[in-house]
Amino acid sequence: MRLIAENLACDRGGRRVFAGVRLSLESGAALVVTGPNGVGKSSLLRVLAGLVQPAEGHVAIEGGDDEATPGEHCHYSGHLDALKPALSVAENLLFWRAFLSAPDEPACFGLAPCDPEAALERVGIGHVADLPAAYLSAGQRRRLALARLLVTARPVWLLDEPTAALDAASEEALTELMRAHVNAGGMVIAATHQPLDLDPVSTLRLEAAT
Amino acid sequence: MTALLDLGPHAGFILSSYAITLATIAGLFLWLRMDRARLVTALERLEAQGVRRRSGRSATGNGAGPRTATGSGR
């Protein structure tokens, strides 16, 4: 399975944020998007996720589920955690598991989704399952957002500043999750400044238009 | 007992107002009891997970701290 994007260009508020972006990612590989602030890393992820229509170029997934759009192959984890404080941690996770659709293929993607309790244990917040999400700390909220990626099997992970608000132990846990995802045939595209120590990792550097 | 029976032409109004009053008071009372039961079970479940109150709190590490009455009474 391959994620392909040809000369992507994106406008925001009438300003050309980036142009001529080309990327192609095989399954089982990771891509780090770097560049100075405001160069459009987040916008690129949102274009790949299908949340924003690109001004030029297009995004395609080869070998994926034909009926599903590229966006439906992707998990998107942005700065906001999509958590409802009034609901409990388990309720939040159960909702997203039932609500997010999972593409049928690609068969080659081996990471089976795990049920909520196991997902919470893997991100290390199994003990707060019944507490309202309002009582979680910032780090715990990020971990819950990561748990959402585990409960529905989508091959591509689009992570925007994944290591923000995470302490050293959590960051190491996140890297281990990403490694498992990539080894199982998934793809990770992360917009971040810290290097990701995953083995097949390539880097896309966005330059500010001079 | 005759006084009870002849509530006059407007017996319906009298009985319904007493009925509504009884229903409201009983509803309030039952709601408070149910609320209490829900809270006590939630508290006991948390206690069972070894979470202590500040006053009864022993170091979180060794969960076997002295078990003080958490004052939940009857």
Partner: protein, 252 residues
């Protein structure tokens, strides 16, 4: 019970735990006596006939509606000025009970009004200000339910309660100021009660029964509120405490 030693929630829970059964029994006895006197002792009114029996519910309920608001106003002062830790617990516990009594006084009043005045509702001063009181109770409950943190919610509702307290004298004297359809105050008057003892006594007993009922329900609600606060702090503690020791693999 000096207010001071009630300040500590744990001691309040222990104290109220012992007091509650007795309060409940006293309330039940008072109701039994009141209902017996209402139905068997009190004569029918020469004009209204038996419908006067609704008065034994309507008047106590109206008194309790206003007394409950006074309790909330005092609690509001306790929260804002004396910083009493249980004051906002008492205010939050009293609001639904006050709303229930106001609702009862409105319902029994309109059920009494239909046979006597011919309509369930008329827009006159006293009924309207009791309806406004009902809306204020619901507003306070709504404010309690929307503000997440109980301490902040306590302060906000305390301010609103005190501002609303201005409405209480308006109800009490509304009958005299606007000499309207509604019957003028006939019990608590400057020159003493104007009704016959055989009706007055059941009324006072029912009023006592309602007051005891209020204190019983209020104490139960306060105990629930203390438990709810305790649960909230426990949950907050549970969320933060374990992270310090939890490692990604199996948490103990």
């Amino acid at each position: 019970m000096a207010i001071a030693d009630l300040a500590n929630p744990t001691r309040f829970m222990a104290l109220s735990g012992r007091l509650l059964p007795w309060l409940g029994i006293a309330c039940a006895l008072a109701f039994a006596a009141g209902l017996y006197m209402t139905f068997f002792v009190a004569p029918d009114d020469y004009q209204q006939g038996a419908t006067v029996k609704i008065m034994f519910l309507h008047v106590p309920a109206a008194w309790l509606a206003m007394m409950c608001y006074s309790v909330m106003a005092v609690s509001a002062l306790g929260t804002l000025i004396w910083k009493h830790p249980l004051a906002d617990v008492s205010a939050r516990a009293a609001a639904p009970i006050g709303a229930a009594f106001t609702f009862l006084s409105l319902i029994t009043g309109s059920l009494w009004g239909k046979p006597m005045w011919g309509t369930y509702w008329v827009w006159d001063a006293r009924l309207t200000s009791v309806l406004v009181l009902f809306i204020m109770y619901l507003g306070l409950i709504a404010l309690w339910r929307t503000v997440e943190d109980p301490i902040r919610a306590g302060k906000a509702t305390a301010v609103l309660t005190l501002v609303g307290a201005i409405n209480l004298p308006i109800i009490k004297f509304s009958v005299d100021w606007w000499n309207t359809l509604h019957q003028p105050a006939s019990v608590v008057r400057l020159d003493g009660p104007a009704i016959h003892p055989t009706i007055l006594w059941p009324l006072l007993v029912m009023a006592l029964a309602f007051t005891l009922l209020f204190f019983t329900l209020h104490m139960m609600a306060m105990r629930n509120e203390v438990l709810r606060r305790r649960l909230r702090t426990l949950q907050l503690g549970a969320a933060s405490a374990r992270t310090a020791t939890a490692r990604p693999q199996a948490a103990e």
